[in-house]
């Protein structure tokens, strides 16, 4: 489905900007810059307003992520359960810091602030799959899986 169709499909909903940006990112893996003025025109908003919405929210990407996205929960419950050391370990193994993509575009490593798995902490999400009770062995396995 093309961008214009996606925008048109959701444009009748009240307050549709986030809905459309989510749909675009779902289709393309990111929100192409060219889509911003198209959304603006369809919703009768200024380009600046739509750009402002796009940049306000952490979820929206301006370029594609790596082939795999590994999100590590960095919030307090996971910190209390040893998450700091595991995050550092993942960073070292992948050679990138949180918020970055490996040079070969295979893995994007991101922090996430709470997956709601706080009683089975530390937790992570690999391409939408949830993993709890992380330890060194499990984080190594996740990193290896993401690198494949």
């Amino acid at each position: 489905m093309r961008g214009a169709d996606i925008i048109a499909e959701h444009s009748k909903q009240e307050g549709a900007t986030l809905v459309i940006l989510h749909a675009l990112q779902g289709a393309f893996g990111y929100v192409p810059e060219a889509a911003i003025p198209m959304v603006a025109q369809t919703l009768n908003l200024s380009r600046a307003e739509v750009h402002g919405v796009f940049t306000f929210y952490h979820d929206f990407r301006h370029k594609p992520a790596g082939r795999h996205v590994l999100k590590l929960c960095r919030a307090e419950a996971c910190q209390a359960a040893g998450g700091d050391a595991l995050a550092a370990r993942a960073e070292a193994k992948l050679g990138v810091s949180l918020g970055n993509t490996t040079a070969d575009d295979r893995v994007t490593l991101e922090p996430i602030y709470c997956l709601g798995l706080c009683a089975t902490a530390p937790s992570a999400m690999l391409d939408g799959r949830l993993i709890g009770r992380l330890d060194e062995k499990r984080i190594d396995a996740l990193v290896a899986e993401a690198q494949r």
Binding site: E14, G15, A16, T17, L18, V19, L21, H22, L43, E49, G52, V53, F56, Y57, H58, D59, F60, A75, E76, A77, C78, Q79, A80, A81, G82, I112, Y113, C114, L115, G116, L117, C118, A119, T120, A121, S123, G128, L130, I131, G132, R133
Partner: protein, 518 residues
């Protein structure tokens, strides 16, 4: 006869292998030609025992836990023969950790099939709405007010008063908004109820719609909760198909429908006015109050905006009467609170109980201390904006006013436990960092104050003019507390100041003994 086996679909159970257990069950049962039916439920909330699976027997459900795929063959033997097994916990309802609870809101969670409206109804679902439809608006308002229910999102505002304000407002349209942007670390009750008993949220919101005269509701769910989004969408479709949403709900003259909107990773959108901005498709900038959302809310119309747990408490109150709910609790905190035990804790999970239980009972007795086995040093209650309490305050009862009297808050009921390896300077700095990243930017104390807070705590950590910088942080916290527009900037001082107050030794270096000059 088919053996009915219950396996949670709850995200926390899935994260520790519940789906693998289901695949193993299907495989082993097929090999043995054993007829089984797998029901995917929510979680009972004993997260440390997940995956916990159950089998239906004439004498009730028998639980096994924690079950891995490698255990499935022998567990199936035990289930088929009713024989002993090392993982067999016995009757699920008799598990002490569950029996000690007072489950009013979470009564069905982990028990029923969250995709089945029939199952929901068979367990008392929609009894409250049916009574509401015969009572009418004024009588419902009386019930909700008499129940003493206060906003479970954290602010603790009386729900009955909020609803009454919207009911009395005149407008062409009114809205019901459910705040499911559960961003606080250490909290997962909203997620659990949406995944485990989504119809109770729908019923609560529908009741609100009937009461105030709103025909449209939105559930704003954070994007970090894809399983909850899926469960709520499935439940909405089922409710619509059966006439519990849409025109003339349940054969009455009322109409009400729901739509899910997904957030996009902004913590501040859990603040109600920021959430409304986000729902309208804008940046999640906090609005100044007044006007209150009850007068001027979504799209400028009168709006009831409540937390998931507030709506989920409503069906019980209407079905069983306000008194049945208000009989639980202490002081002005009536009813029950689904408390979430998290972080470094041996027995973490969801524990719903009447207000009044002490922090010490929750952490040491119910939670069993830390899973690392080291002493508990600090607990953060109420999410990233909640205070850190030391052991000395473990006699604090779980109650809105009692926590507030000790410069803390119960917030959304999350308790994060830390052992003695915690560095409270790091936790204080993190509170400021989080605020700096998540600030919507509208007010200066929050936007700038949080960044200056990070820098100043860094200086303290480097040992630069420690006492002066500590005084500066305290002063800054006061500015943020009284000068911020919303709870993000206004409450970030709670974790910082509580760390400074109760764990001072982490900030001030131990006095070095002077070496005698030679």
């Amino acid at each position: 006869m088919k053996m009915r086996i219950f396996v949670p679909r709850d995200a926390a159970a899935v994260a520790v292998g519940a789906d693998d257990v289901v695949r193993a069950l299907e495989r082993v049962a097929a090999q043995r030609d054993l007829p089984i039916e797998i029901v995917r439920t929510g979680s009972r909330g004993l997260c440390w025992l997940e995956p916990m699976i159950e089998v239906a027997t004439p004498g009730g459900r028998i639980a096994y836990s924690p079950v891995g795929p490698e255990d499935v063959a022998s567990v199936l033997d035990s289930m088929a023969s009713n024989g002993s097994h090392p993982l067999r916990l016995g009757a699920a309802d008799e598990i002490p950790w569950l029996k000690r609870q007072t489950r009013l809101t979470f009564a069905r969670c982990g028990v029923i099939d969250p995709r089945s409206l029939d199952d929901y109804r068979a367990h008392g679902g929609y009894k409250g709405l049916e009574r509401s439809l015969s009572l009418g608006s004024d009588a419902i308002l009386n019930e909700v007010t008499a129940s003493g229910l206060r906003g479970r999102g954290g602010a603790g505002f009386p729900t009955g008063i909020k609803w009454k304000t919207v009911a009395q407002a005149k407008a062409d349209r009114k809205f019901i908004v459910c705040n499911a942007d559960e961003g606080d670390s250490g909290t997962f009750a909203d997620r659990m109820i949406m995944e485990g008993d989504p119809f109770v949220v729908i019923e609560g919101m529908t009741t609100a719609g009937v009461t105030v005269g709103a025909t449209k509701g939105y559930i704003y769910i954070r994007s970090e909760y894809p399983h909850a989004v899926e469960a709520m969408n499935a439940a909405i479709t089922a409710a619509r198909r059966r006439g519990y949403l849409g025109d003339k709900i349940d054969g009455s003259t009322y109409s009400f429908d729901l739509e899910i909107r997904v957030g996009a990773g902004a913590y501040v959108c859990g603040e109600e006015t920021s959430l409304l901005e986000s729902l309208e498709g804008r940046r999640g900038l906090v609005r100044a109050k007044p006007p209150l959302p009850a007068h001027h809310g979504l799209f400028g119309r009168p709006t009831v905006i409540n937390n998931v747990l507030s709506f989920a408490a409503i069906p019980f109150i209407l079905a069983e009467g306000a008194k049945a709910y208000a009989d639980f609790g202490m002081g002005r905190s009536r009813g029950t609170m689904p408390i979430q035990l998290a972080g470094n804790i041996r027995q973490g999970g969801l524990f719903e109980t009447a207000f009044g239980v002490t922090l010490g009972e929750l952490v040491d007795d119910i939670g069993g201390g830390t899973f690392t086995g080291r002493p508990v040093r600090a607990v953060q209650v109420g999410g990233p904006l909640g205070a850190y309490f030391p052991r000395a305050l473990f006699d604090t009862p779980f109650d809105y006013e009692a926590f507030s009297a000790r410069d803390g808050l119960i917030g959304h009921g999350g308790i994060v436990v830390f052992d003695d390896s915690v560095d409270m300077r790091k936790q204080a700095r993190f509170a400021m960092e989080f605020c700096a990243v998540e600030s919507c930017g509208k007010c200066t104390p929050c936007r700038i104050g949080s960044t200056r807070g990070v820098e100043t705590i860094q200086k303290i950590m480097r040992g630069e003019r420690v006492s002066e910088n500590l005084a500066l942080v305290e002063d800054l916290c006061n500015t943020m507390k009284f000068g911020s527009l919303c709870a993000l900037g206004g409450f970030t001082p709670y974790p910082v100041l509580s760390a400074l107050k109760h764990f001072r030794e982490d900030f001030v270096p131990a006095p070095t003994t002077l070496q005698a000059a030679e």
